[in-house]
């Protein structure tokens, strides 16, 4: 099983059925006119690193992205379905969909199939009401937050994030904050690592960045 993040399945043998995990650190931070999404790039099958340059930041619509953690298959399937639904929805609406709507579509699937899925998702984007970050953890609840961290590596940086986050940070400050959080988590969590991928979403568009090596 390929996983982004590890879960109790560490206790079974994930290599037995080839499952893949997104052993992960993901985060999203809202700033005054946009959202910074960040993720590591490691995908594991048991302890083998199946992909060391994974892109866990997935484009749902032009203005809405999501970060994936948990089972790679589950999150890819859910993201594809949500993207398809939102594409149709935005055509019917005649305008880009609200981030709130995307979060609810994700949630409806994550909640309905909660017993069969292993997916922790962070949705971030900018719509006509401004920037938003929604966190949809394992059980299928939704909560909007000014910033959100997720994945197995996030447990190592809760204290750091709480200590260093301030509301009203600028875009550049948010980017540096995201990089430092993900880097710290990668250096302690065995199932996070590789590159730090970023997506900066603003009303003008989306800028993708990659940071190679670990900034310590």
């Amino acid at each position: 099983m390929m996983l982004e993040g590890h879960d109790e399945s560490f206790n079974e043998n994930p290599k037995a059925n080839g499952e893949v995990s997104l052993g992960t650190t993901i985060m999203a931070i809202r700033f005054d006119h946009g959202v910074v999404m960040a993720a590591d790039s490691r995908t594991t099958t048991g302890s083998f690193i199946a992909n060391r340059v994974t892109d866990k930041i997935y484009k749902v619509t032009d203005n809405i992205y999501c970060c994936r953690s948990g089972s790679a298959a589950d999150t890819q399937a859910i993201s594809d379905i949500v993207k398809a639904n939102l594409t149709v929805h935005s055509l019917e609406l005649g305008q880009p969909p609200a981030v709130n709507t995307a979060a609810k579509v994700f949630r409806s699937m994550c909640y309905k199939y909660r017993d069969q899925l292993s997916a922790g998702i962070i949705v971030g984007g900018v719509d006509s009401t401004g920037p938003h970050v929604y966190s949809i953890p394992l059980g299928g609840s939704v909560v909007e937050q000014p910033f959100s961290i997720g994945g197995s590596g996030s447990t190592y940086i809760y204290g750091y994030c709480d200590a260093h986050y301030r509301p009203g940070m600028s875009k550049e400050e948010c980017i540096e904050f995201a990089k430092s959080c993900v880097a710290l988590a990668m250096s302690r969590d065995g199932s996070s690592g590789g590159l730090i991928r970023l997506a900066v979403i603003t009303p003008d568009g989306v800028e993708r960045q990659v940071v190679t090596g670990i900034e310590q």
Binding site: H6, G23, R42, S47, I49, G190, Q216
Partner: protein, 205 residues
């Protein structure tokens, strides 16, 4: 609690060259996916020309190396000389087989020069089955990766500098594909003139 041999994570590699051997281990001490320490090397010294590395469960590594220290000390006192590599290997093998039905979860890798300065490497499983190849030996959670890299890059009769370089490259590439080992490496290059220890910087993820 799944597979006990992947609870902590480790990686060890030893290679022979021309009149020299190198043994390298990673420095991670972790508990499943959490990394506790990045300064925990897994290579122990018997003499300046004989080293062994232990992969596997850390508590058993520590206990077993203490018991082995006792045995090697006693041997030196009784025999008035240090153990030869082949003797050490058989000693370890025998100690592990004593616990055949309740084993130490360790994977020993031995590297050294014998009394004629001939390179010697050996490895065994957790119940003492030995192998004595003449090229390289691997151990730990990253062993499959290390097998592949070493098989491709090892060649016979490497000089010390070459051996160090090849060993390092194989090792770093191997551990970079293993989530449970890494966070730096330590290399011991053993030659008739002495041993050089080198701490190698690798990816810290």
């Amino acid at each position: 609690m799944g597979d006990i041999s992947t609870y902590n994570g480790s990686a060890i590699l030893a290679m022979t060259g021309k009149n020299c051997v190198a043994i390298i281990s990673d420095k991670r001490f972790g508990v499943q996916y959490q990394t506790i320490s990045m300064d925990f090397d897994k290579i122990y010294s018997v003499t300046p020309k004989l080293f062994y590395g232990l992969g596997g469960l850390v508590t058993d590594m520590q206990t077993f190396s203490s018991k082995l220290k006792f045995r090697t000390n006693l041997y030196e006192i009784k025999n008035g000389r240090t153990m030869e590599p082949a003797v050490l290997t058989k000693c370890i093998s025998s100690m592990l087989y004593e616990k055949r039905f309740g084993p130490f979860f360790v994977q020993p890798v031995i590297a050294g020069l014998d009394k004629d300065n001939k390179p010697f490497i050996a490895s065994m499983d957790s119940i003492g089955a030995c192998t004595f190849p003449d090229d390289f030996v691997v151990g730990g959670t990253a062993e499959e990766n290390l097998f592949g890299m070493s098989e491709s890059l090892w060649r016979p009769d490497m000089e010390a500098d070459d051996l160090k370089h090849v060993c390092t490259q194989c090792f770093l590439a191997g551990i970079n594909r293993d989530a449970l080992s890494g966070w730096g490496a330590v290399l011991y290059l053993i030659t008739p003139d002495g041993v050089i220890r080198e701490d190698i910087e690798g990816r810290m993820d």
